[in-house]
Amino acid sequence: MDLPETRDSQTLSYEQAGPTAVRMLLGARLRKLREAAEVSREDAAQAIRGSESKISRLELGRLGFKPRDVSDLLDLYRVSEDERATLLTMAGHANTPGWWQPYGDAVPAWFSPYLGLEQAAETIRTYEVQFVPGLLQTPGYARAVLAIGADDNPGPDTEQQVDLRIRRQQLLYRPSPPRLWAVIDEAVLRRLIGDPSVARAQLAHLIEMAQLSHISIQVAPFSGGSRAAADGPVTLLRFPEAELPDVIYLEQHTTAVYLSKPAERLYYRNVLNRLVTEALPSADTEAILRQILREI
């Protein structure tokens, strides 16, 4: 699957960025289906009254999808009814602007594909070494974290970014929420971000969230394995469709990388697997959080 490196994301206009993720997944799937059906780009182009280059751009997720085009291609590729329904739904989503569009500049171009993918995920596996994962932050904690990025001088965007982060968390309260499986380094829990009342509220919030059956939080203790020290934060998104590969998301301060090569996916999936087997089981998490809460 071709996901954009930074270079590509610059070519996407901001308005396009919302549905980008879905487009890329749908495009990659259409390419696989075309190849499996042994249909050339030329023949596919003819079926949708377009050019070969249009097929290429569709398959790279760089163009919007017309439902009629998708439907014609699926006919040509002889796709099963089940998958047809899924892909046509995706095509619908691929044209809907993301809910975060009104947040404007608070959403950097490199971040919006992640927002789309996160909404589509069935399982979100994440490892954090510096901060509480965004999906589990309280507004106060988010504000304190964002203030660090802004050199302790919250810019005009800060409140919008806090809003965005909290709005993102709504996916955890959907009727069929994704599963969130987080490993948090002990350092994250012990480092004071903001004043003690912010830290206490954040820890209490984690205790509460960890009760939810679709949320699993494991702590990687200082005393635990060496794995935790060797890798930076990483997020793996898994989609319900068997055909769609996992996406690995690595966030840096001013950009993000979406890894798509099988070897890269494998490497980071193994990192996460080692982390979850070396970290303390989730049943221990509440006691650890309460202990730290007492010590603050």
């Binding site: 399982t123 599963r179 499986w181 059956s213 679709h214 699993s216 494991q218 635990g224 394995g225 898994r238 068997a242 590969p245 996992d246 494998l266 999936r269 193994n270 697997n273 080692r274 979850v276 087997t277 070396e278 303390l280 089981p281 989730s282 049943a283 221990d284 006691a287």
Partner: protein, 270 residues
């Protein structure tokens, strides 16, 4: 709360059964070494993909039967494997939301996945036991702390018994002795559900022979009569020990069942 964190290492150089099954079932949690072993296996025994799917359907029908018709609310699922579609607790809790499921495995990766992903709805519960079926007394000791053995319990052994013992050496005495321990622990009105591969297909036997030489935890198939003996002393539910796709099938009866090697059954302790 179990705080002992054993030193664990995920071996990505040797195929692991739970991960190969994940590959055969179309999952996304296997490693290249597992895919390689799974493909090699399928070359000698192409039916394995059908077997894998049929085994999931069998588990689903068995759990539904136990929850719906037998009224079972406590399940001890030994040999959990990596999460799949329709896991035991999901099927049971769809019928009876208050069902309690205890998953048992000894693979740290499987246990980590189970703890995070095989979680219960609010009315019922799921729990996890890190234990080895080779020591059934220890396994039962932990399970007794999580399930009420004075009331009916169903013990599920789905495709795991062939990982135990070596029938060529001891005529299957090791597994029969484990079964005796488990059956003795089963309360009256409790159930035992099993499926495992039998040695009736030369292609499968060849594929397994090769697999067992790969350094993986060996899987040794039994004769059909050895599998039937696992249920000795219990009352078999209709239709008895049969190829799993014939066990209370719920789809098109005109669809001719494929010739699979897996035998399975469900029995009640009187």
């Amino acid at each position: 709360m179990d705080s002992d964190v054993p030193s664990v290492k995920i071996d990505t150089t040797v195929p692991v059964s739970a991960r190969i099954w994940n590959y055969w079932l179309g999952g996304k949690d296997y490693y290249p070494v597992d895919k390689e072993a799974g493909d090699q296996f399928a070359q000698l025994y192409p039916g394995i993909f059908d077997e894998a799917r049929a085994s999931r359907y069998f588990i689903a029908r068995v759990v539904r039967y136990l929850a719906e018709e037998a009224g079972i609310r406590q399940f001890l699922d030994i040999g959990t494997g990596l999460p799949s579609h329709d896991n035991t607790h999901e099927i049971a809790q769809r019928v009876a939301p208050d069902s309690k499921i205890v998953y048992v495995d000894n693979d740290p990766l499987v246990l980590a996945h189970a703890r995070a992903l095989l979680t219960s709805n609010a009315a019922g519960s799921t729990d996890y036991v890190d234990a080895d079926l080779n020591d059934p007394q220890a396994l039962l000791r932990i399970a007794r702390g999580k399930l009420d053995f004075s009331r009916p319990v169903a013990i599920l052994l789905m495709g795991i018994l062939a990982h135990i013992g070596n029938p060529e050496v001891d005529d299957d005495r090791a597994v029969q002795s484990i079964m005796a321990t488990l059956k003795a622990a089963l309360p009256s009105g409790g159930y035992l559900a099993i499926y495992d591969s039998s040695d009736v297909d030369p292609g499968l036997n060849d594929a397994l022979h090769k697999y067992n030489e790969s350094g993986a935890d060996p899987y040794r198939v039994r004769r059909p009569d050895q599998i039937a003996r696992y249920f000795d002393g219990l009352e078999l539910v209709e239709p008895g020990v049969v190829p799993i796709q014939q066990w209370r099938p719920d789809h098109d009866p005109f669809d001719p069942p494929k010739n699979l090697t897996n035998l399975g059954g469900v029995a009640r302790k009187p």
